[in-house]
Symmetry: C2
Subunit: 241 residues, 2 copies
Amino acid sequence: MDNNSNFLAKYIPNAITVLSLCCGLTSIRFSITEEWKIAILLIILAAVFDFFDGWFARKFKGGSNFGAELDSLSDFISFGVAPSLLIYFWALSDLESLGWSISLFFAVCSALRLARFTADIYLTPKPIDLNTYFIGVPSPAAAGLSLLPIFIYIEFEFSFLRNPYLNLINLSLIGFLMVSKIPTFSFKKINLSKKYAPWIILLVVIICIGLISNIWLTLIILVIIYIISIIYTVMINFKSN
Amino acid sequence: MDNNSNFLAKYIPNAITVLSLCCGLTSIRFSITEEWKIAILLIILAAVFDFFDGWFARKFKGGSNFGAELDSLSDFISFGVAPSLLIYFWALSDLESLGWSISLFFAVCSALRLARFTADIYLTPKPIDLNTYFIGVPSPAAAGLSLLPIFIYIEFEFSFLRNPYLNLINLSLIGFLMVSKIPTFSFKKINLSKKYAPWIILLVVIICIGLISNIWLTLIILVIIYIISIIYTVMINFKSN
């Protein structure tokens, strides 16, 4: 029984991470062939796998150095390289070198953030998820923010959102937010005590129903709520300092 | 003076790693537009930067956790993802899903190897480059091995080397070699004592002249020498066990 649980703890999270990595890499393939919706869905699927892999590793206390390293590589592809290439092919390719340099900038910021985050795991004696806030925007959230213009474009067909300069500014800004030291809300910190459990389950159910009924609108709402949460935490910390 | 040296030790290796990462990412861009030679040269440039970044970090004893993490991300792009996409677009894309799965396999093997390698840095008390052998083929060498068919194709125009099944077998085999535990020769171990220094400098000069005069032929020779070195170390270890 214990052996079985060890087996789960050791291999399942890493197997899920590899799935997440494959989704991220395959998203690049569909960005190249301009199948935007599939490319985006694969990044979202990578995020779902990434969430479950972290959850599994914590649940079975199987978090290993190897797992943390693999997770960092997978996150870099799925939330750094794949979104930057997607936005490049969707909106920036007309700008040629300028467009490419901004895509590179976004990917490099994502690498710097992930390298800092993973190196910190080895430094902190306490588990990282006890912290109330992340420092800077984490890479999966940055991927969501960078893709907001394309979500709105798909749902409402506002063609100006495909403007290269708009996406260029958006990508640069999110790049800076990733490496910045602004505090951002960590959803791992959500109070999971029994008192709140029914409400959280209800919320998750509502989000799932939303994603199934109208995925693009739901994603737009989620990203906007996240942007509001950033403004809120920044304002709170600005006041308290 | 000391401050200056600290500054060099801290920032130069990471800046070189970022350059290496940018070369790897840009190689992907040129693979997509089928400019094979530029894509290959960018991977080689990434390898050169990767070598100097490691050398700088050792020289100034500035190897940090952050640097190791960033290096792992950069290596994954330059020697895992970029070569696998290059070979996919050059030879495997006609096989569609099958071709893509082999490219994914190569990239995943590279991730598994780099994750193990980076996680081990934190475990071993002694610096990793004191080991005589690497365990398995390191990712820059794997990139060189995976690109051998295209080197020969460019130099000698043997069109059968672009055969998808040949490249499929080649990529799979190298994927296995990366995660395998076979011993491979570490060139960091080369004896740099004063006695041998002139010969090593001569060798480096010859390689540089070769690369400048006929880069493809020199690369073919270097990769073939590396293959012979793998066979040699495997045979030596097979005998001694």
